[in-house]
């Protein structure tokens, strides 16, 4: 780093100057019919900032999500822009093509919105309520577990192994979700337990 640049100085230079000068002072003179030269309003002004981590690879770039509405105040929040966090030691504000387009993931047209079920042999999903979905799933789980869990092996050793239902954990969930998932899955005796680490 042989170049020492005061970024603050840059900021001053790029914009400041004769402070008294205003657009009005120059008037529109010969070009009254035309729209005066202007730059777009800075769209992040007066938005809510939230620190997050990019959901893709494990460089784990720091990001700032800009929203209208503030969750911490109990409001609905709609994220409208995502940008790199310049303070983050690794990415220093930069983002890759995936990270720079995170907004389109958040607002993807193909996000799942409602619990759905596809009945055996059907060619379509049907919308159901959370209660219906969860009750049905746990029913199926219990029926399978009760029928198939191996309590003891041939040698009589307690093995508590449930091999007929499997669980594939995510790769983008938090450590906390992972831990909760671990607890639930392990407590049931599911052994076909895996995650994306292999793939």
């Amino acid at each position: 780093m042989n170049i020492q640049v005061s970024r603050r100085r840059f900021l001053q230079l790029a914009g400041a100057g004769a402070a008294a000068t205003s657009i009005a002072a120059f008037g529109y003179g010969e070009a009254e019919a035309e729209v005066a030269a202007h730059v777009r309003n800075f769209k992040l002004a007066k938005s809510t900032e939230t620190r997050n981590t990019c959901t893709y690879c494990s460089v784990a770039c720091g990001i700032i999500m800009y929203s209208r509405g503030d969750l911490t105040k109990g409001e609905q929040a709609n994220i409208f822009h995502i940008e790199g966090d310049a303070e983050h030691p690794t990415n220093r504000g930069t983002l890759c093509p995936k990270g720079a387009a995170l907004l389109d993931m958040v607002h993807s047209k193909t996000r799942t919105l409602y619990p759905q079920v596809r009945k055996p042999g059907s060619d379509k999903f049907e919308r159901i309520s959370w209660d219906e979905a969860l009750d049905r799933i746990t029913r199926l789980m219990k029926d399978d577990r009760d029928k198939n869990i191996i309590e003891r092996n041939a040698a009589g050793v307690t093995v508590n192994r449930w091999t007929t239902t499997g669980f594939l954990a995510a790769s983008a969930t938090t450590n906390e979700t992972a831990w909760e998932t671990y607890k639930v899955v392990r407590s049931t005796g599911i052994v076909a337990f895996d995650n994306q680490a292999r793939v």
């Binding site: 709609n78 192994r161 969930t173 938090t174």
Partner: protein, 810 residues
């Protein structure tokens, strides 16, 4: 990663092999460009394709996919032959001098103890010679022919530059140029870093690929130093975390193991763990295994885990096979022995090998539950999409649930990055529709299941009924509550062992770290290596100080790094035996006369005497292992094996197909293809514009790389009459796909063992949902076989045929 992303700036030489950091990890790759710009570092890229990493490399060297071990052992051979060895490091910090069991040997491509029937080894001879004092024998002069160093020397002697050229197709002059550049890093003041990813892991001998480079790094003295290390570039935002927390069939958080059914009791289980030191004075940290295990059991079952019931040891499932990894799971499913399956944000249909088999397997399930923020192909495996998913919906009897989850932007918690940093994040948006957080969904499933058992009873109900679930809102545990469990807390007052009147940690308080964990049930800790992440001082993972003393790239107070906020693993090895840094300009930890000090948290007891306690405390020897004993299934040294589908036979042992210790299911063995039908060596990979099967749902990314394609050389295109932008059909024994052809100078045919080998590159991002054009993926073609140790499928080397076609049919 042993080091961190920001530490890469300290290196002198970056070797990208088995990965493509510029494309898959662009923002991490920044630190390579920084090293180049600030230190004049060089970048070498070794890859079958001239990747975007190669586009900014100082030297690009081609290699045939699946031959990395031959290449790396060739480099090791070069270093040994040309005295490019960091001798002080090798002698002090590796097991080079330890003597190996006389019975151990290697011939005809196999180590001693092979059983062809079982495709496995009897590994008893893979051991040290033990002295009467219970310690391994050593020859510090490295003269004994049975010492690790001499066995290694002998083992790698066959990998001459000529042999490397013959196996890998790498021109000898290019290989030697790489050797020369790498050899320079044996200097104490030059370091090299290895950046790799799934280009090394997705092989039937992935673990050994990595071992080979790790051995080279040890020989060069590059482990534990700034700008060095073995840097695995993990693919997903929290795949490191999920591995750490052990969401795998055979793991307990913090790299502990689920017992096997042979381990009938806690005592039997513990008898093969808690290793005693193999050399005098060494730490052998796994001696603390039981503390971590018991604390884990307490975190699981709380008060129900007592000394009397062996801390609920019996409630853990016991394995009858080494693992129920995804390959085994889908094998079982395919055989009709699996009824239910959950996919928590995972697109199995596109991610697992041999898609036909995956579809058939899923079709045999009674129920499938998919929790995902996006509409995945897996959730729609039963939906007919013409060529892209040609199934008969009516004949598929699986009941499929699609549960909408929130995404990263809408949830709170920590993610562990490649550099082991646990970083907290906050929610900023309202989830769409009825989407719910994974925490809520898992809690709901648990509570409803528990209610069913309470109501109806059933077998083995206790582990479910007595799971410790003391959350403020049991239906929706908060991230903070769960993080505190991961960190661990005192179940009862913890007295100071040296002064029982003094309470170190009061009952109910968060523990400061794993050093205070106990094996008597007085502590609970979900994941011992995460202990320290959320202490009484608060959430360490949420720290945001950018302070970086002396600009080392350590950032000790940004977030929190496991273990104990250590940023560079094995950092004691950054100093010589006396505790003096190898390179003063790049010092990391040093002995100040009374204790270890420096920029990082020492990877050794702070008062461990230099010259006595060796840096690799997790190993019973205290040193790193050039000879890995019984650590890996296919041998204590890596050896060259071809992929299961290879364009040429194994030059060193023609009778061996693939990795002799890799597990192969019977039906899958019948589905391996041969070069006479499928002459081209294919490989699969990510493109920088996309992330797996996610960004095809993001409009911008879809526009940046809209349509599925395969990449071939101009030579192959000419030979097969394929035009740039034209349509091709690519096929293997297991399936066929159609794609656009990208004809490029960036892929060139290689000559291996006298035969011209053409390479076909197949990126992996397309499916039948999302914004991109519908397409296929490599898993329609790839073989159903994994790494011998961790079962990562062999995605990076397989055989295909390719032909020009006129275009999509209808």
């Amino acid at each position: 990663m042993t080091n961190s992303w920001t530490d890469i700036k300290n290196t002198d030489l970056v070797v990208i092999m088995g990965g493509n950091a510029a494309e898959a990890h662009p923002c991490g790759f920044k630190w390579v460009t920084e090293a180049k710009h600030n230190r004049g570092a060089k970048l070498i890229v070794i890859d079958p394709r001239f990747t975007r990493s190669a586009s900014v490399a100082d030297f690009y060297c081609p290699i045939r996919q699946g031959t990395d071990i031959a290449y790396l052992l060739g480099v090791i051979n070069y270093c040994i032959q040309n005295d490019k060895v960091q001798w002080d490091y090798v002698k002090s910090y590796t097991n080079a001098g330890l003597l190996v069991d006389e019975r151990f040997g290697y011939s005809d491509g196999l180590f001693t103890g092979y059983d062809e029937e079982k495709r496995d080894y009897d590994r008893t001879s893979w051991d040290y010679q033990m002295g009467a004092d219970g310690f391994a024998l050593i020859d510090d002069t490295l003269q004994n022919p049975r010492c690790v160093w001499n066995l290694l020397k002998q083992h790698v002697a066959v990998y001459t530059p000529e042999m490397v050229e013959r196996i890998c197709g790498t021109p000898k002059d290019k290989f030697l140029k790489v050797c020369e550049m790498i050899g320079e890093c044996s200097s104490k003041t030059r370091t090299m870093t290895s950046m790799y990813a799934l280009g090394w892991t997705q092989h039937s001998k992935g673990s050994q690929n990595i071992r080979a480079m790790a051995m080279l790094q040890l020989i060069l003295g590059n482990i534990g130093v700034r700008g060095g290390g073995m840097n695995a570039l993990r693919g997903h935002s929290n795949i490191q975390g999920l591995t750490d927390i052990g969401l795998m069939s055979n793991l307990i958080p913090g790299y502990l193991n689920i017992p096997t059914e042979r381990e009938t009791s806690l005592d039997v289980y513990m008898s093969t763990r808690g290793f005693k030191p193999l050399r005098p004075g060494q730490t052998s940290y796994w001696q603390n295994y039981k503390k971590f295990f018991v604390s884990f059991q307490k975190a699981m079952w709380g008060e129900a885990a007592t000394a009397e019931n062996n801390f609920a040891y019996d409630w853990l499932p016991k394995l009858d096979v080494p693992s129920y990894d995804i390959l085994r799971a889908f094998e079982l499913m395919h055989a009709g022995r699996m009824n239910g399956y959950f996919c928590q944000g995972f697109n199995a249909l596109l991610s697992f090998p041999n898609r036909k088999k995956i579809t058939a397997a899923l079709s045999k399930l009674k129920f499938l539950v998919v929790m995902d923020p996006l509409q995945t192909e897996t959730a729609r495996f039963w939906e007919n999409h013409g060529d892209f998913n040609d199934v008969n919906s009516a004949s598929i009897q699986t009941e499929v649930f699609e549960l909408p989850t929130s995404c990263f932007a809408e949830d709170e918690g920590s993610l562990t990055n490649s550099g082991r940093w646990l970083q907290w994040h906050w929610p900023g948006g309202t989830p769409p529709g009825d989407a719910k957080s994974d925490n809520w969904i898992m809690a709901q499933i648990y509570l409803r299941l528990k209610a069913l058992y309470e109501k109806e009873g059933g077998p083995v109900a206790d582990p479910i009924l007595k799971l410790d679930w003391r959350y403020k809102d049991p239906g929706d545990p908060t991230a903070e509550e769960l993080a505190k469990e991961l960190n661990g807390y005192a179940v009862s007052d913890l007295a100071d062992p040296s002064d029982p009147t003094k309470i170190v940690v009061a009952r109910g308080k968060q523990v400061p770290g794993f050093a205070v964990l106990r094996d008597d049930g007085s502590t609970a800790c979900g994941c011992w290596i995460y202990s320290g992440c959320f202490t009484e001082a608060g959430n360490q993972m949420a720290r945001r100080s950018t302070n970086d003393p002396d600009d080392t790239g350590t950032f000790p107070t940004w977030a929190w790094s496991w273990p104990v906020n250590r940023r560079i693993l094995y950092n004691r090895a950054s100093a010589d035996l006396e505790g003096k840094p190898w390179d003063e300009s790049r010092k990391l930890m040093w002995w100040d006369g009374t204790k270890w000090t420096g920029y990082d948290v020492p990877d050794i007891a702070p008062n461990a005497q230099p010259g006595e306690v060796m840096p690799f405390i997790m190993n019973a020897e205290g040193t790193a292992r050039l000879f890995s004993l019984r650590g890996l299934r296919e041998g204590p040294f890596p050896a060259h094996y071809e992929p299961f589908e290879a364009p040429i036979a194994n030059v060193l042992a023609p009778h061996i197909r693939g990795n002799p210790a890799a597990r192969v299911f019977k039906d899958d063995a019948a589905q391996f293809g041969d070069a006479k039908d499928f002459p081209y060596a294919a490989t699969s990979y990510r493109l920088t514009e996309h992330f797996h099967f996610w960004t095809k749902h993001a409009q911008i990314n879809a526009s940046l790389q809209p349509e599925f394609f395969v990449e071939i050389s101009e030579e192959l295109a000419k030979e097969k009459g394929i035009v740039r932008g034209g349509w091709v059909r690519v096929s293997s024994v297991r399936g066929s796909i159609r794609a656009k052809a990208v004809v490029t100078k960036r892929i060139r045919p290689l000559v291996c063992d006298g035969k011209t080998v053409h390479i076909v590159g197949i990126p992996l991002h397309w499916g039948f949902t999302g914004e991109t054009k519908e397409g296929f993926g490599p898993n329609s073609l790839t073989p159903f076989v994994g790494d011998a140790n961790i079962e990562t499928p062999e995605y990076k080397a397989f055989l295909v045929n390719i032909e020009a076609i006129s275009g999509p049919v209808a």
